[in-house]
């Protein structure tokens, strides 16, 4: 090593000086090639014009104008874009609250109520079992359960709870949220569990010795110290739900709008510039939410 270092002495100095930059170079290149460049292309194409069979290089704002077409004029009625975003935001909020509560409780249980490490591992693996099948299958398997002639409805009718099938179980906002929570709760469990594992147990003992109740320990020690996990889990759930269109499509009977579906339809009709403009708006909206979340906690510092 020494010989090699001497013979490349001049370079080695640079390497030492910029080692951090060099180490991050491969990943930076990947990010640049597979994220920055495509993103720039999307932004560029969002200003192009198009007809039914080709896209035309240009610099126009029509695509953005189309997205917000009639939005001001039709107030207080919501235009398509506002209604779609509002619906997406509603799903994001409800899913976020439910997955957060479930995720936090599961992590809390795994971390503080299960005392043997082996048991923790076994139970944690149990949580991941649903992930052995694909996303789509987990979602679709709700359909025979919730349908008009499905298992839930026929059971309720048989035991006399209801006289006629309950319609809102399937192809409704309820079924969409149910699927979201089912699909994404684990994304909340994992980072929160990870954060909780790092909490120094002596802190909890100290709190206990100082006479803090369980609730006080929870609110003043565990929750603040799990914050990075909560934020990371929240970012996962929020970004996935914002961009999702398959779950909303399948579970909502394709009657509930989503930004992803609008982009998807535009793509199949070769309206790439319009789809790009919608994608840009979606990215901006999602980034704004993430930005607000990171204001609440400085992830870089906490990690």
């Amino acid at each position: 090593m020494k010989v090699a270092a001497d013979s490349f002495g001049g370079i080695m100095i640079d390497v030492k000086k910029h080692s951090a930059a060099l180490l991050s170079l491969p990943f930076a290149l990947v990010i640049f090639g597979f994220f920055v460049v495509p993103l720039c292309l999307v932004i560029m194409v969002s200003f192009w014009d198009y007809n039914s069979y080709s896209i035309i290089p240009d610099f126009i704002f029509t695509n953005y104008h189309d997205i917000f077409y009639g939005c001001v004029k039709s107030l207080p009625d919501l235009c398509t874009s506002f209604a779609t975003y509002l619906s997406s935001l509603k799903f994001v909020f409800i899913t976020w609250v439910i997955t957060l509560i479930i995720g936090f409780l599961v992590a809390l249980f795994l971390c503080f109520c299960v005392h043997s490490l082996q048991m923790q591992i076994v139970l944690f693996l149990l949580c991941t079992i649903p992930f052995w099948t694909s996303n789509v299958i987990r979602m679709i398997s709700w359909i025979p359960l919730l349908g008009r002639n499905g298992l839930v409805n026929s059971t309720m009718q048989n035991i006399g709870l209801t006289d006629s099938p309950v319609e809102w179980l399937l192809y409704s906002e309820f079924s969409v949220i149910l699927a979201f929570v089912h699909l994404y709760a684990l994304f909340m469990v994992v980072p929160i569990f990870n954060s909780m594992l790092r909490i120094d147990r002596s802190l909890i003992e100290a709190a206990h010795d100082a006479g803090a109740s369980s609730l006080q320990t929870l609110t003043s020690i565990i929750i603040p110290l799990s914050r990075p996990g909560i934020i990371i889990g929240s970012i996962f759930v929020i970004t996935i739900v914002m961009g999702d269109f398959i779950t909303i499509g399948v579970m909502g009977g394709q009657q509930i709008p989503s930004v992803g579906k609008i982009i998807n339809v535009e793509m199949t009709y070769l309206q790439f510039p319009a789809a790009a403009a919608n994608a840009v708006i979606l990215i901006i909206t999602t980034l704004m939410i993430i930005f607000a979340m990171t204001k609440l906690v400085d992830i870089r510092k906490e990690l």
Binding site: S52, R148, V265
Partner: protein
């Protein structure tokens, strides 16, 4: 259902060919001299392993599939014209495909059965009677001015845009056991009696046509051309759809074949837009389902083959051999037995039993059990095909699937309907 199995094996080939296509932007078009391979781009609903097997026996040609959805076919032709030899597409996509110059005119002189192609396509008539031509009717886009022209010719020329293969007349599918009364008009789709039990397909260009049939039959409006609406007409149509949706008329919207089958078979929906093989799929599960003829008529569609502009020389010869074989009768008989119509009825007839021909094409009572190509029973002796004979069904066509001039606006308004 062999159909599903076929699809599965297709998907495998799809993965392989997609990987291949991704590798060098396009798979090599030249194969060794004694290997005849055709790279097929299309929805593959009118292909299948039995057809592949027979094709190979008769001609030694192998098909390499690039199976995608209807809209994806168009996208692929426009964006990756070198990735396929032959494209199986709808006539209504032609106004988008032809201006791109990515497909060639088909030489009618090289097609043996060209003169026997159904008059529904060439003349827009059947049994001497004119049929509805609203929308992108095949006769409007049947010929090109020249092999490489990007303009349609109203007069017959040597160069055809597509060589037609299969077509059909679509209508609403119903569950007679759950509706329990006769259905005879498109307006029933929005009848409040079926609130929460109706569905319409969520493919804007086709869904809007079904909606237009409903609007006309409700007496709300008569369109000069349902297949080419003005902005006001689109607004009106979507407004009626939105009102129905807000009132809870639709249980769900569907966008792929299997979804429509599941909605119907599970009883979630009792009346909806549907495609002929989907009806067959519900019926072979033993569930009653009717492709209900309606008094306002049918919405028709037609598909055919074209060659990529990049397909030349020997490879083009193989493609023409494939197309000639496709029209020579085996496939025609096979597809007719699924409820489609072959573009060359005369050859298909040679591959069907007389009692099958009588049932499927002449609308006569079945004298024996009618079976799907996979051997499952579709109808018993004494039953008659929904809608009757070929001449009755195709004679009742009101409009064809279409690409509108206001397509861009229509898609935006359709999204509004989905979001409402």
């Amino acid at each position: 259902m062999t159909k599903l199995i076929d699809r599965r094996s297709l998907l495998k080939t799809a993965g392989a060919s997609a990987a291949l296509a991704g590798f060098g932007l396009s798979a090599p078009a030249v194969h060794s001299a004694n290997e005849k391979v055709v790279r097929y781009l299309g929805t593959a609903t009118t292909m299948g392993s039995e057809i592949d097997k027979k094709l190979f026996e008769d001609t030694g040609i192998k098909v390499k599939y690039i199976p995608v959805t209807t809209d994806e076919v168009t996208k692929r032709v426009l964006t990756q014209p070198n990735s396929f030899d032959i494209v199986d597409t709808e006539y209504f996509s032609l106004p988008k495909l032809v201006p791109s110059g990515n497909i060639l005119g088909m030489d009618s002189k090289r097609i043996k059965e060209f003169d026997n192609i159904s008059t529904t396509h060439t003349l827009g008539e059947i049994g001497g009677k004119k049929i509805g031509d609203q929308g992108t009717a095949p006769k409007k886009v049947f010929y090109l001015k020249d092999e490489k022209s990007s303009e349609f010719s109203p007069e017959p020329t040597r160069w055809a845009t597509l060589i037609p293969t299969v077509f059909n007349a679509d209508t609403l599918g119903i569950r007679p056991d759950l509706i329990k009364r006769p259905i005879s008009t498109w307006a029933e789709l929005l009848n409040p009696e079926f609130r929460g039990k109706a569905s319409i397909l969520n493919i804007p260009s086709i869904g809007i046509m079904d909606a237009a049939m409903v609007v006309e039959s409700m007496g709300e409006y008569q369109y000069p051309d349902k297949g080419n609406m003005t902005r006001d007409e689109i607004d009106l149509t979507i407004k009626i759809l939105i009102e129905a949706k807000k009132a809870g008329q639709f249980r769900a919207l569907w966008s792929d074949f299997n979804e429509s089958v599941n909605l119907m078979a599970s009883g979630e929906v009792v009346i909806q837009s549907m495609w002929s093989p989907a009806i067959t799929a519900v019926r072979t599960q033993g569930i009653p389902c009717i492709y209900q003829p309606l008094k306002e008529g049918y919405r028709a569609w037609a598909v055919g083959f074209a060659l990529s502009a990049a397909t030349k020389g020997y490879q083009a010869d193989v493609c023409y051999e494939f197309i000639n074989w496709y029209l020579s009768g085996f496939v025609g008989g096979y597809l007719n037995r699924q409820g489609y119509y072959s573009a060359v009825p005369s050859t298909a007839k040679q591959y069907m039993e007389p009692y099958e021909w009588d049932y499927w094409m002449l609308g006569k009572k079945a004298t024996k059990d009618i079976k799907a190509p996979d051997g499952k029973k579709l109808a018993g002796a004494g039953e008659v095909r929904d809608g009757g004979s070929f001449v009755e069904r195709m004679g009742g066509v009101a409009c064809w699937n279409a690409t509108m001039d206001e397509n861009r606006y229509m898609v935006r308004k359709w999204n509004e309907f989905v979001a409402a």
